[in-house]
């Protein structure tokens, strides 16, 4: 029996709430704006998809976990035994903490603080694996539940645009110089960072049914695999991504042709999008040419460790809405990315299955198969 998702929550540059995130992704109007949260003088690029002000990561994460639990109609006692898997770059305070205080600012310490604040007393685990941190956590939650080792796991993830990662991405010349993220498009120049906080409740189908909980989607398949290729570059033939996709489909017993939407990693960098396209073809075969694809990073930005969860929430809600989100900023087809990119507006469709895929430094890839409830 597939693990199911019973609650979702999100906060993004589109505002508070998963519905605001979905609305932004469907409208296809990017949330990028000049960065005001910190000084970007001297940087090559000065835009990101940010909320107003300087929100606190721990506070926002705890709020999202509470919201996801409320969405799942999880009351206090039912929350208590739940595990928390948290995907973060780390505690934002670590790098400026006094040396003696650093242990208090570990990623696990942050996860424990959130679990305590939200009344989750099960095991706690922090994931820091860059852009596949959150999607790996979801796969692990689904695997744990499928093996009967837990009834219910909360997965949360968060990244709020801050000066250190911004400086690093700027120095690495990874940021889009034209202020737009154009995944799979001719003329794409790079990525842009974005705020993203998300949380979901994953549970066994039996546990959800037993307490009469709403089922938003099923997670019948998941895959995670590595390229064994390079420190940071993806393997050009997409071997790792394709292994993750095939793992997810095989586990679910779903044919590639039954996947009706791919929420792509789609970072908007020239090499990464080409490698991802190769991976989609290797993983989906002939079906890759016809399946609608979009990267919603083109609207909400790259939320690093949190992106996978933000995109999973969008994918789940898009299936429920019967509308597929837009790949904004598309200028024209790139010969290296021969995909059916949803570029002209949200597309009406109600597929039985969608894939959310993510890739990261280190050649790490994940694929999450979402089944309509």
């Amino acid at each position: 029996m597939s693990p199911v998702v019973t609650g979702v929550a999100a906060v993004s540059a589109f505002g508070r709430g998963a519905d605001a995130l979905l609305a932004g992704a469907l409208a296809g109007t990017p949330a990028f704006r000049p960065v005001e949260r910190f000084d970007v003088t001297g940087r090559r690029v000065g835009v990101a998809a940010t909320m107003a002000g300087s929100p606190d990561l721990g506070t926002e994460l705890a709020g999202a976990v509470d919201d996801a639990c409320a969405d799942a109609e999880l009351t206090g006692p039912a929350r208590a035994g739940s595990a928390l898997l948290l995907a973060v770059h780390g505690d934002p305070a670590l790098a400026r903490a006094a040396e003696a205080d650093r242990p208090r600012h570990s990623a696990d310490a942050l996860a424990h603080r959130i679990a305590d604040a939200c009344g989750l007393s099960g095991p706690v685990r922090a994931y820091t694996s860059a852009c596949v941190a959150a999607s790996t956590a979801v796969a692990d939650a689904a695997a744990t539940i499928a093996l009967g080792r837990a009834e219910r796991i909360v997965v949360a993830a968060g990244y709020l645009v801050e000066p250190d990662q911004f400086a690093l991405f700027d120095a690495g010349r990874a940021l889009a110089t034209d202020g737009r993220v154009r995944p799979f498009s001719d003329g794409r120049t790079g990525l842009l960072l974005g705020d993203g906080i998300a949380a979901i409740v994953v549970e066994s189908a039996d546990a959800a049914r037993g307490r009469g909980a709403p089922v938003l989607a099923r997670i019948p398949g998941w895959g995670r695999a590595g390229d064994a290729y390079h420190v940071v570059q993806p393997r050009p033939d997409g071997a790792g991504l394709s292994a993750a996709i095939r793992g997810a489909l095989d586990r679910a017993g779903v044919a590639a042709g039954d996947v009706g939407y791919v929420n792509a990693h789609g970072s908007g960098t020239p090499q990464s999008d080409a490698a991802e396209t190769a991976g989609l073809y290797a993983g989906l075969g002939d079906a890759a040419a016809g399946v609608p694809v979009s990267s919603t990073k083109s609207t909400h930005g790259q939320a690093l460790e949190a992106s996978g969860l933000l995109e999973l929430v969008i994918t789940i809600l898009a299936l429920r809405a019967g509308r597929l989100p837009v790949n904004a900023g598309f200028l024209g087809r790139d010969a290296q990315c021969p995909l059916d990119v949803i570029s002209d507006g949200p597309r009406a469709a109600s597929p039985a299955y969608a894939l959310s895929v993510n890739s990261a430094f280190g050649g790490a890839h994940t694929a999450l198969l979402v089944g309509a409830a």
């Binding site: 685990r125 250190d164 120095a171 064994a228 290729y229 292994a243």
Partner: protein
């Protein structure tokens, strides 16, 4: 996830002991895994500075991970078809993080190489490429979580074996690595 592992791991994660390799191996056994090989840095007084790693600058974090892992994998001999990499570090590459924060706060230049080592995945990618490891790559905050995850990936059929590395910078810098596999009959368990 087993509560036992979560409880036992705190001792290693929080202590300053140098002689960590048996402890990670013992934790692996407690997590229901067979330990195929171990490696560490430092292993003796000869180990005063981990060998440098081309492309990685400023910090000992990635060199530490690479050296402990390489020693472990060299001793393991033949590797399984799908070996996962699970890199555990309570504070990540804190030296690099502090270096970048200082540069940002003082208006100093941030070098482009620091971008590539901004996440622990980078050195995992180095190991994956060098050793041909095609399993999942994950980075976590604690050894307990890492060993739990290694056991899960194997039970889930997502990996045949897993390289688990625990790295901590400080006084002294140290890293331990274990290659873990499913327990089979004849392992005495």
């Amino acid at each position: 996830m087993t509560a036992e592992v979560l409880l036992t791991a705190g001792a290693t994660a929080g202590s300053g002991a140098v002689e960590a390799p048996p402890t990670l191996a013992e934790q692996a056994a407690a997590a229901g895994l067979a330990v195929r090989a171990t490696g560490a840095w430092p292993e003796s007084t000869v180990d005063t500075k981990p060998p440098g790693l081309p492309g990685f600058v400023v910090s000992t974090f990635s060199p530490l991970v690479a050296e402990a892992a390489s020693r472990c994998l060299t001793r393991a001999g033949d590797l399984a078809e799908r070996t996962a990499i699970v890199l555990c570090s309570p504070l990540g590459d804190v030296t690099s993080a502090v270096h970048v924060a200082h540069a940002v706060d003082t208006g100093a230049r941030v070098g482009p190489l620091l971008f590539f080592q901004s996440v622990p995945n980078a050195v995992a990618g180095h190991l994956a490429a060098q050793w041909g490891l095609t399993g999942p790559v994950a980075c976590l905050g604690s050894a307990a979580g890492g060993l739990d995850l290694a056991a899960l990936l194997i039970a889930d059929g997502s990996a045949d074996e897993a390289l688990v590395v625990l790295a901590q910078q400080g006084e002294p810098d140290r890293a331990t690595a274990v290659l873990v596999a499913p327990v089979t009959e004849g392992d005495g368990s």
